[in-house]
């Protein structure tokens, strides 16, 4: 368990930002991952009073506050309609309802964890993150930043478009960490395939060879799947070997292409 001597409920983003500049301080999201660390920090900074637990809808986008829980994402009618149910699909296997009521979208994305279903999906949605200091950037760009960022993730922005999305994952047990995640979306004929839990974090693979440009058939789907699987990097850990991941990557991508036809 994380040990600390000071708990601060930030009363403004400015205050939170200022406090997190200190190396000894830590910003709390859902705290689920921080809780499992056996170390001592100086102060923890809680954002829970900053009204970041709201999902705002405008004509062009959804603005999801960083403290919105994964459970709220799961049950949000608008987000699920926008993503053809992929939003719920991406989080519903994560441990349990109680866990998802505590885990936040901000914490999940900020962590840029390899196993993250959430990161996989939001990257495929071409979502953006808004950092207090660094401003707005794509999830893809954010994922590439160095691990240690002394900034506050304020909200995640999902654009409202005609994009269609499908989410699949492979897990050894129903609510375990994924062995592999796969989110596939298409907008204006352009496919974005995101593969995560490789075990490395989500990465985007586009249809550079135009394999899906003509039509979607089991053959073109298989070709695209093989292409993505050959381009992606995989590694081994206790949940699976690199070889297994590569094999099921092909399967999940192919299935997601075909499933995308159905949504």
């Amino acid at each position: 368990m994380l040990s600390f001597n000071q708990y601060v409920r930030a009363q403004s983003l400015e205050e939170a930002y200022a406090l997190c500049q200190k190396k000894a301080n830590v910003v709390l999201g859902g705290m689920l991952w921080l809780k499992m660390q056996n170390r001592t920090v100086g102060a923890v900074i809680d954002l829970c009073d900053l009204g970041l637990d709201q999902i705002e809808e405008s004509e062009s986008e959804y603005r999801i506050g960083a403290m919105v829980s994964l459970r709220r994402l799961e049950t949000h009618a608008g987000l699920n309609a926008l993503t053809q149910g992929a939003m719920a699909e991406s989080v519903k296997n994560i441990v349990g309802v109680q866990f998802r009521n505590v885990a936040t979208v901000g914490g999940s994305i900020f962590g840029r964890f390899g196993f993250s279903d959430v990161l996989t999906l939001f990257m495929a949605l071409d979502a953006k993150v808004e950092l207090y200091h660094a401003g707005i950037m794509g999830v893809k760009e954010f994922a590439q930043l160095p691990h240690q960022i002394r900034d506050i993730l304020v909200r995640v922005i999902v654009p409202k478009t005609e994009r269609k999305t499908v989410y699949l994952s492979m897990r050894n047990t129903a609510t375990d960490f994924p062995v592999l995640t796969c989110a596939l979306s298409v907008l204006g004929g352009r496919y974005s395939c995101v593969i995560g839990a490789r075990p490395m974090k989500a990465a985007l693979y586009e249809d550079e060879k135009g394999l899906l440009a003509e039509e979607i058939t089991p053959i073109t789907a298989a070709a695209f799947a093989e292409d993505v699987a050959s381009r992606a990097d995989f590694d081994s850990n206790i949940r699976g070997s690199a070889g297994y991941r590569r094999t099921i990557c092909e399967v999940l991508v192919r299935r997601s292409v075909l499933a995308l036809q159905e949504v």
């Binding site: 000071q6 705290m31 809780k35 499992m36 349990g96 309802v97 109680q98 866990f99 505590v102």
Partner: protein
């Protein structure tokens, strides 16, 4: 030390705590012994409490974060629990009982959200409540028997 104030089982309480105290340890120190610890990795669901009516893992929430909020443990929801737990008892599915409080709390949350869940919905909602004794089937039978009884009573 810091002082926190929250509503615990409908009573306002004030207490001095160490800032890194977890909600599970806080509520247990306040006499809510139903809340159990079963793991360190947020996997078992034994420590489920309601925070502003929403089921959360008290092992992963700071007592300090819960300050200013409404916390309910099984000690404060006895009547609501009594309405259906007899049906679990009628199956013998409580077994060692260690998972019971978390399971009962989460079932209360489920039924408040969805008064007529299907078997699949029940299983999915309670997926985060582990049980090693009963094999889960008896708990489902119990909830189903309760829901059938409730429907009949209408």
């Amino acid at each position: 030390m810091m002082e926190i104030k929250m509503t615990l089982n409908q009573k306002t309480i004030t207490a001095a705590i160490e800032p890194d105290m977890l909600l599970i340890d806080f509520v247990r120190s306040q006499g809510c012994l139903s809340v159990k610890r079963g793991c360190e990795t947020a996997n078992c669901g034994l420590c489920t409490v309601l925070m502003d009516g929403v089921p959360v893992l008290s092992c992963s929430v700071l007592a300090a974060r819960a300050a200013g909020h409404r916390i309910d443990t099984l000690e404060g929801l006895q009547e609501e629990a009594e309405e259906f737990v007899g049906f679990i008892a009628d199956q013998g599915a409580e077994q060692c009982g260690f998972c019971n409080p978390g399971f009962v709390m989460n079932t209360i949350a489920l039924l408040r959200e969805n008064a007529e869940p299907s078997d699949d919905e029940i299983r999915a909602y309670l997926a985060g409540n582990l049980c090693r004794c009963s094999g889960y089937e008896g708990q489902l039978r119990g909830i189903r028997a309760y829901l059938d009884w409730k429907k009949e009573a209408k």
